[in-house]
């Protein structure tokens, strides 16, 4: 399950951030996960529960904000949310779209305790 790989990438990044900022601990972590990123929220939470044990970030509450898929049409320039994975402009039926959101896998913010 690749959500474990993702958490195994997350933990050292947070640990490094704590070290560089000389913070005592992290209390909360907010992630943004795009609906099209291929990552499942439940699986990510499960992987986090397992992998964070014994690490410097153990005990920090993980929040995941799922980001919907949105796009803009290169023909009529409207922006819209994509539903049911239908990549057609709802206004002109065009297929020349630019994806604006939905692929995110981002560490958005953390709440830390200062030393």
């Amino acid at each position: 399950m690749h959500e474990f790989s993702i958490i195994q990438n997350l933990i050292p990044q947070i640990e490094e951030f704590l070290l560089k900022g000389n913070y005592k601990k992290v209390n909360k972590i907010l992630l943004e996960v795009g609906v099209m990123s291929g990552v499942i929220q439940d699986a990510l939470e499960f992987a986090y529960d397992i992998c964070s044990k014994g690490s410097t970030i153990e005990g920090a509450a993980l929040s995941i904000r799922m980001v919907p898929v949105s796009a803009s049409c290169e023909k009529c320039f409207i922006k819209f949310e994509v539903h049911d994975y239908s990549y057609l402009c709802p206004q002109c039926n065009g297929t020349d779209l630019k994806l604006l959101s939905g692929n995110e896998l981002t560490i958005k913010e953390i709440e830390v305790e200062e030393a």
Partner: protein, 224 residues
């Protein structure tokens, strides 16, 4: 005890993105067109590469890196076509990542390679998340898998530059609605070029070969 909220805004897979960028730089330096080949297990990735390498090597230099959990079976099959190939065994990892591909490149003659095929682990979910530095994502499905496949696995199809429908020789024997599959692909990935062929009979493969050669020529401004 004071707490504060800090905005970070970095990618979780930052290390993978860095390795993927390094791979891209290496490909650019050696004028290599890198193609990430993705599919479910059994769709015919290896058969496609055996056919493709056998034909393309007469016109262009091809190398292959293959990912599987275990064995060198696929690498050995591809090696018989006469092109350099290296096998990556991921152990239990369900996808290739940029670092794995980077390591494999040390065993390939990149300076003498024009097209590099990266045969990913058979999996239509996880490889969608991991950029390995490729220029093109090609997703393969076979007529034995059902025309709803693109609807069931939208992330990987949504990122595809090209979709290949394989095993068309089986169409008389399976309940596969080709027109419905084409409609599904148009809905999920309208930007993707679609090829339909049979690696068993060779029918339809010449368009795929020509597309690859044209893509390399367009990338590096040279004729093949």
């Amino acid at each position: 005890m004071t707490t504060k909220v800090i905005t970070i805004d970095t990618q979780i897979l930052e290390k993978n993105e860095i390795a993927a960028s390094e791979n891209r730089e290496l490909f650019k330096k050696h004028k290599v067109l890198a193609i990430n080949l993705l599919s479910s297990p059994g769709s015919g990735k290896t058969a496609l590469l055996v056919n493709t390498c056998t034909v393309l090597k007469e016109k262009i230099n091809v190398s292959v890196t293959v990912g599987d959990l275990q064995t060198e079976a696929d690498a050995l099959r591809i090696a018989r076509s006469g092109v350099p190939v290296v096998q990556i065994n991921t152990g239990t990892a369900c996808h290739l990542d940029a670092h794995m591909v980077q390591l494999s490149l040390k065993s390939l003659p990149l300076a003498q390679t024009d097209i590099l095929f990266i045969e990913n682990v058979g999996n239509l979910v996880c490889p969608a998340t991991f950029d390995v530095g490729e220029h093109l994502k090609v997703v393969l499905l076979s007529v034995a898998e059902g025309e709803e496949k693109p609807l069931k696995y939208p992330p990987i199809f949504q990122h595809a530059d090209c979709v290949c429908i394989n095993k068309t020789d089986l169409l008389p024997h399976v309940d596969f609605n080709l027109n419905q599959c084409r409609d599904n692909l148009q809905r999920i990935c309208p930007q993707a070029l679609v090829f339909e062929f049979s690696c068993k009979t060779g029918d339809g493969l010449s368009s795929w070969y020509n597309w690859l050669l044209n893509k390399w020529a367009a990338a590096y401004g040279e004729a093949c």
